[in-house]
């Protein structure tokens, strides 16, 4: 079973069309990975699907890096599973 970090990387790679090797914890979704504002909405939905969680969209959309997204998702998984 891939780790949460690997699964987040895969989702980000698929949705934003960037190579997984380019994605690090410090990668900023907009500045480094080129996410359009509208893609942030798709990312939240994709994480919800991948991890079967419900994310608070307003809090989730404040997250700007991959590492912070991983922490956010881990917290939601711990609370909801």
């Amino acid at each position: 079973m891939p780790s949460i970090e690997e699964r987040v990387q895969k989702v980000v790679s698929r949705l934003l069309g960037v190579n997984e090797s380019q994605i690090t914890d410090d990668s900023d979704f907009v500045r480094d990975l080129g996410a359009e504002s509208i893609q942030s909405i798709e990312l939240v939905a994709a994480f919800e699907e991948e991890f079967d969680i419900e994310m608070d969209e307003e809090a989730a959309l404040q997250v700007n890096t991959v590492g912070k997204a991983i922490e956010f998702i881990k917290k939601d998984i711990a609370e909801q599973h």
């Binding site: 509208i38 909405i41 798709e42 939240v44 939905a45 919800e48 699907e49 991948e50 079967d52 608070d56 969209e57 307003e58 959309l61």
Partner: protein, 422 residues
């Protein structure tokens, strides 16, 4: 004179999402709302209202001195109760006369009730009060136009504009009218208000009915307006083809083609794109080339989602019904008989949108999303309203929060439907 009581009965929900933020009698048909028409029949009457409790704080701001949902006053005087869904221009029931209840297909249209009968009732809501008086007062079957579904407003719109034009008693050109523009048809079927302006190269076609261009409205070059139509106060028409049976409320910005539709007010449809047999609530914004179908290719009758279920409209021409503050992107396509909730953000992706879009969602790449959340939606609404010198009150926000909760289940269903199962 009897106290006039205008009430909402339980059929307001057939007109969701248009009635999420307003009582049913504030919906428009023709130049004015259903309520404006009722009140114009009873000038000078003391009036009270019965609306859904959650609408009371916002509605109170419009009628600060009128009692709202106050059952205790019903026993204090003779009453004339009028159903707020009654579409009546100048043929309302006489306020004086013996006690009587007018029923149309079982719905109370009006009720003349004596103070004595009203005082003998002990109801905890207006529906119970109506049931109680039905057992005490003679009923009479009457013919009346009660608005039961959104398409009723559209179907009556042209006829009501004609009646309101006749009642207005105004015609002719009082405002600016370019010598390069023309009235095609009877000249006295036009009224251009004093502060309105018709710029060059505009055709106003009165061959099928009157055209009213209200105060402050501007009609820009290459527009064509076909009667019966009403252009509301401070509205701009930008080179549009406004077809018959169209009423556009105040402060709208309209381009493209519009046919047999009602645009409530403060709504923008600046650009090319067709809108037909539709009702747009307030503060909506349709992006360029947004277009709706109002006729199925097989000419069959259109079904519309009413209260969560597909309902036969028994009409072949049905457009879309779009709630307050909903926005569409460029190139958004609506299917015949589409219902869209309030505060949605719809991004066209080349295909046709689902026939039902719940409130407070985004639609993008053919699936529903939560978007940026409720507070972000409020911030957008604030920004939009500020452009027209309006603001969201605390009461407005609380009402929207209530509707957000009310519509949660249908929203969750739509969001889950779009999810890929793992």
């Amino acid at each position: 004179m009897r106290r006039l009581c205008v009430f909402e009965d339980e059929k307001y929900c057939n007109l969701y999402p248009l009635t999420f933020l307003r009582p049913v009698f504030e919906l428009k048909c023709g130049c004015t709302s259903l309520l404006d028409k009722i009140l114009s029949n009873y000038k000078g009457a003391e009036v009270c209202f019965f609306v859904r409790d959650y609408l009371s704080p916002t509605f109170k701001k419009k009628f600060p001195t009128a009692p709202i949902n106050d059952l205790s006053i019903l026993g204090n005087s003779d009453l004339l109760l009028i159903n707020g869904r009654w579409l009546v221009v100048d043929s309302a029931v006489e306020p004086d006369g013996r006690e009587e209840i007018g029923l149309c297909d079982g719905d109370v249209v009006y009720a003349r009730v004596s103070q004595k009968t009203a005082a003998s009732c002990s109801a905890d809501n207006i529906q119970t009060f109506l049931e109680q008086i039905k057992s005490k007062i003679k009923t009479r079957s009457v013919s009346a136009d009660l608005i039961s579904y959104p398409w009723d407003l559209i179907n009556h719109n042209g006829k009501i504009i004609e009646q309101e034009f006749n009642s207005l008693g105004k015609s002719g050109i009082e405002g600016k009218f370019s010598s390069f523009s023309t009235v095609y048809g009877e000249q006295d079927l036009v009224w251009v208000a004093q502060s309105a302006e018709v710029q060059p190269f505009v055709v106003i076609d009165t061959t099928h009915g009157p055209v009213i261009i209200d105060e402050g409205a501007t009609i820009s070059p290459y527009s064509r307006i076909e009667g019966p139509s009403y252009i509301g106060r401070e509205t701009y028409i930008y080179g549009a083809n406004v077809r018959e049976g169209t009423a556009i409320g105040p402060m709208c910005r309209i381009g493209g083609e519009v046919e047999e539709s009602i645009i409530h007010g403060y709504t923008n449809k600046y650009h090319e794109g067709f809108l037909g047999h539709s009702y747009l609530a307030e503060w909506a914004n349709l992006g360029a080339l947004t277009t709706n179908s109002d006729l199925k290719n097989d000419y069959s009758q259109v079904q519309v989602y009413i209260k969560g279920a597909l309902t036969d409209s028994n009409e072949t021409k049905v457009g879309c019904y779009i709630g307050d503050h909903t926005k569409t992107s460029i190139g958004t396509f609506f299917n015949t008989g589409t219902v869209v909730g309030i505060m949605c953000n719809l991004v066209g992706s080349g295909g046709i949108l689902p026939k039902f879009v719940p409130s407070f969602v985004w639609f993008l790449n053919n699936r529903f999303y939560k978007g940026y959340g409720f507070n972000a939606m409020l911030n957008t609404a604030r920004a939009v309203m500020a452009r027209r010198n309006r603001s969201l009150s605390d009461e407005d926000v609380e009402l929207m929060r209530f509707i957000h909760t009310l519509t949660k289940e249908e929203r969750q269903t739509a969001l889950k439907k779009g999810r890929k199962t793992r």
